[in-house]
């Protein structure tokens, strides 16, 4: 395993162990994110991607290890405070079903100002029809779209994104890839968990997880070429 050292990481995870009660899912994971870069965590089901992101976000407590955000140790900081500091996570089930779509957006933006809704609609015109609908009535894919809008308006410094493309049409997947690019261009540091290799194209770094450990870490171009990785994630039928 190769680590990329960075002089001024915005987020640094050291020796992280995480899981659910007695069940340990993530083992001894270390990772550091350079400001402005996008890091992709690739891993099969149950590899521990979600668990890793949730622990970094503070939704799950760390069993061992530390998380440092902008130089501050946040290992024991509650998740809402991390979010307010700019460490935001969008989970794979991010909507508030009984709230309207526009309230979902406002909540993510932490403002009551409807201008954020207009701003979001600019990037996600498909949502404009549904602004006053309850999020519960959206289709599976529409919810994912809303999630991306919420990610955008939450204006994070570091965004933890869990599987934004599941259940999306190919066209939408490529759009989401575009959205991630857009977020990146806004200067947001992104840590993205996915199984879809299309995201390698936006990533600067890729970490491959297996059984709760970081198995491979490297620059995206290099990892994308590795035979092992291609076999697992790119295999063509």
């Amino acid at each position: 395993m190769r680590r990329v050292q960075s002089n001024n990481p915005i987020l640094e995870v050291k020796g992280l162990w995480a899981g659910y009660g007695k069940l340990v899912v993530v083992r001894d994971l270390s990772l550091s994110l350079e400001r402005g870069t996008t890091t992709l965590i690739l891993g099969l089901n149950g590899a521990g991607k979600t668990t890793t992101l949730k622990t970094i976000a503070g939704i799950l407590p760390a069993i061992k290890g530390s998380v440092t955000f902008e130089g501050k140790d946040v290992t024991h900081t509650p998740s809402f405070q991390r979010a307010r500091m700019g460490l935001v996570m969008i989970t794979d089930n991010p909507v508030f079903p009984d709230m309207t779509v526009s309230d979902n957006i406002k909540l993510a933006a932490r403002t009551g100002d409807s201008r954020v809704v207009q701003e979001a609609v600019k990037y996600f015109p498909e949502l404009s029809k549904f602004l006053s609908f309850r999020a519960a009535s959206l289709s599976g894919g529409q919810r994912k779209m809303l999630a991306m809008a919420m990610a955008m308006v939450s204006k994070p410094k570091v965004l933890l994104l869990d599987e934004p493309s599941t259940g999306l049409s190919p066209l939408m997947v490529s759009k989401v890839v575009g959205y991630v690019k857009l977020l990146k261009s806004l200067g947001i540091t992104i840590l993205l968990a996915e199984q879809n290799p299309s995201f390698i194209s936006v990533a600067d770094y890729v970490m491959v997880m297996e059984m709760g450990r970081a198995k491979i870490f490297g620059r995206a171009e290099e990892v994308g070429k590795l035979e092992d990785v291609r076999k697992t994630f790119f295999q063509v039928t």
Binding site: K54, A57, G58, I59, P78, S79, F80, Q81, A83, R84, V88, M89, I90, T91, N93, P94, V95, F96, P97, D98, M99, D103, K106, L107, A108, R110, T111, G112, R134, A136, S137, M150, S154, L160
Partner: protein, 296 residues
């Protein structure tokens, strides 16, 4: 009996009382909506609010409006304590709604027994002048001025609560926390604080509403809580659980139905009110203002 003016009178009284009923049920709805706790002790808390108004009036001649504010503050603190004792544990259980029902029943028994020990068994009551004496003439019959004050205050509380839940960031955060605690935390919602506030606010509303019970229910006694809880629950479900605006509809319907029926079939008034409620819920399973849920 000339029915016309009587019906008009009953309608107006029903609307005035209905606003109060909405206020009375509001806290119950909020506590359910926010933390999914079925507060079967709601009526007992209201009764305690009534006792507080009684004590403050007997000791300091304090007007019930003052008692209402005092009750609100005091019960807010009570709410905080209750929250820490009950809510986190119940929320972690396998069936929070049903288990909270039982836990709050325990609280209800407890409050009623304590109230009996402290205040004795006799019904206590307050003269209308402890709020505002006198009456205004309407359709040839008097409407106590106290009712009008009460309805005004209730409307103000309802508006305030609506504003809190629908227009403020705190309210949005509250609703978000109810629906998806993980994601709301990850977006910066301090779930604990938000829930604590909403729960305590709901309890405080019960106490505050209690300050007016001696007028609407004629008197207060320790055992009155159960009936009040039942009425509050029905009001809440005619509207929709977890939706405070709908509580207003529920309260008004209850108030008007009841008063009009009292003119024509007093002996069946309650029975018909409850049957009508059942009919309403069957016709609109989510409550009159409840939305349809996408299930698949």
């Amino acid at each position: 009996m000339n029915a016309g003016p009587l019906v008009g009178y009953a309608l107006v009284v029903g609307l005035l009382e209905g606003l109060y009923f909405a206020f009375m049920a509001l806290g119950l709805n909020l506590v359910f909506g926010v933390v999914r706790m079925v507060n079967i002790a709601h009526g007992d808390l209201i009764v305690m609010g009534g006792y507080l108004a009684f004590v403050l009036f007997s000791a300091f001649k304090l007007n019930s409006l003052g008692s209402m504010v005092a009750a609100f503050l005091l019960f807010f603190v009570v709410g905080i304590a209750l929250y820490y004792v009950l809510v986190p544990r119940l929320q972690g259980s396998s069936d929070p709604e049903m288990f909270s029902f039982i836990a709050f029943f325990g609280i209800s028994m407890f409050i009623e027994a304590i109230a009996t020990l402290i205040f004795g068994e006799y019904p206590l009551s307050l003269p209308f002048s402890a709020l505002l004496g006198g009456s205004v003439e309407f359709m040839g019959h008097g409407i106590p001025k106290a009712f009008i004050v009460m309805a005004g205050v209730s409307a103000a509380v309802l508006v305030l609560t609506y504003y809190y839940l629908e227009m403020t960031g705190l309210g949005r955060a509250t609703r978000a926390m109810m629906q998806n605690p993980e994601q709301s935390a990850a977006l910066g919602v301090n779930s604990k604080l938000v829930a604590l506030f909403a729960f305590s606010y709901g309890i405080a509303l019960a106490g505050a509403a209690g300050a007016f019970t001696p007028y609407v229910f004629g008197n207060i006694y320790a055992a009155a809580g159960t009936q009040i809880t039942a009425i509050a629950f029905t009001i809440v479900i005619i509207g929709a659980l977890g939706n405070p605006l709908s509580t207003v509809i529920g309260g008004l319907i209850f108030g008007v139905f009841y008063q009009v029926l009292e003119v024509f079939v007093p002996s069946l008034a309650y029975a018909i009110v409850f049957i009508a409620l059942l009919a309403i819920i069957v016709a609109k399973p989510g409550g009159l203002l409840g939305g349809e849920q996408r299930e698949v």
